[in-house]
Structure formats: structure tokens, C-alpha cells
Amino acid sequence: AQTVTQSQPEMSVQEAETVTLSCTYDTSENNYYLFWYKQPPSRQMILVIRQEAYKQQNATENRFSVNFQKAAKSFSLKISDSQLGDTAMYFCAFLGGTSYGKLTFGQGTILTVHP
């Protein structure tokens, strides 16, 4: 079974600064997807960024980028130029290539952006 671990329960950052959220995972699969989801206080979960395991290039979406280290099974999220609207719970999630859609989530990291 896959496991996803987020070792930082809470993080804080000043507005306009950069913050990195950590995630490690364990799997025996070779083909899979990794995701970061954002859940603001209103609770609607939205996808921030995804990474296909077969791609060596790290994914980037505007101010959000990942550092994907397949051998180390590490998948961190970097948020640049942090904004107040980035305040949310962030979840790292794993989708196996044969999981037919079943996401395995980490415990989450609460990120607070301070003005």
C-alpha cells in the first residue's frame, strides 16, 4: 500500500517571501502521479499542481513549483512571492498508475501567510 507523509503540520511565511512544503511517499510502483491540493478555510479542495513520475522535468504553475526527487521519493512544493490568499491547508497526494483514480493523501500542512 502507498503511504504519503507530510512532516510539517504547520508553516508560516511573510507575504512576498518563498516557502517550501515537504512531502515524502512510499510506493513500489514505477508509474504514478503526484499532486498538491489546496484546501482554503471554506473547504473546497482545488488542484494546485501535478507531476507525472515518468517526467524528469519538475512541474511549474505560475508561482508554484515542485522539486520531484524520484529516487528519494520526495515531492516538495515551493510557493514563491507568497500571497495572503495562499493561506490554506495543503495536501500532498499520490495516484498509482493502476489505482483507477484512488488518491492517497498526506496529513496536510497548514500554511499561514502573514502580511
Binding site: S42, R43, Q44, M45, L47, Y100, G101, F105, G108
Partner: protein, 118 residues
């Protein structure tokens, strides 16, 4: 495009009572998921439907939880009887199929139903 709809948004019941949640996925999405999110934890998949068939219900406590998606569109999740440990947010998500018929990796989540069992 309308998002995933869920109702009610909040529900408070006493233990041993029953409760039902409703979810309407994004139009055309074949796959529907119910997750349980206990406070301070990540969501855990309870059941996954593809159209009106069950793909995965391995983590559904079947002695008290049931779910259906009779016409392959909207879905209901029921708990009977509820226990204190069922207090959680119940999230519904949906995803489409890719052109090859495989389940799309991107899931769209509803706002959730916060259940409190007293």
C-alpha cells in the same frame, strides 16, 4: 461549468441516528468519489463509482455506511446508525474519462458536508 454540488453543508445528529448526504458531480463525469476527512487529517477514500458501478469500497464500513449511484449521475451516502467517530467532513469528488477511456487523474471536489455526531 457548474462544480460538484453537495448538500447539506452542515449536519448535527445524535449518535445512533441516521443521516444521508447528497452529491451531484460535474455534468458528464463518469467517476464519483466519496471521501471522509477527519479533523486534522487528509481525506480518506470511502467509495468510488464509475458510472453506476462500484470500483472500490474497500475502506467503507459496510456495517453502517452505504452509498448508491443508481442512474450513474448523483449519489447518496448514508450512515446508519451514526457513531461519535463518524464526525468528519464528507467530501464528494468527480472526474471524467480520458479519450482512451481511462479515468482522468484530475478530481474536482465539492464543498463538503460537515457532520457532527453528539
Amino acid at each position: 461549468e457548474a462544480g460538484v454540488a453537495q448538500s447539506p453543508r452542515y449536519k448535527i445528529i445524535e449518535k445512533r441516528q441516521s443521516v444521508a448526504f447528497w452529491c451531484n458531480p460535474i455534468s458528464g463525469h463518469a467517476t464519483l468519489y466519496w471521501y471522509q476527512q477527519i479533523l486534522g487529517q487528509g481525506p480518506k477514500l470511502l467509495i468510488q463509482f464509475q458510472n453506476n458501478g462500484v470500483v472500490d469500497d474497500s475502506q467503507l464500513p459496510k456495517d453502517r455506511f452505504s452509498a448508491e449511484r443508481l442512474k450513474g449521475v448523483d449519489s447518496t451516502l448514508k450512515i446508519q446508525p451514526a457513531k461519535l467517530e463518524d464526525s468528519a467532513v464528507y467530501l464528494c469528488a468527480s472526474s471524467s474519462e480520458s479519450g482512451s477511456g481511462r479515468i482522468s487523474y484530475e478530481q474536482y471536489f465539492g464543498p463538503g458536508t460537515r457532520l457532527t455526531v453528539t
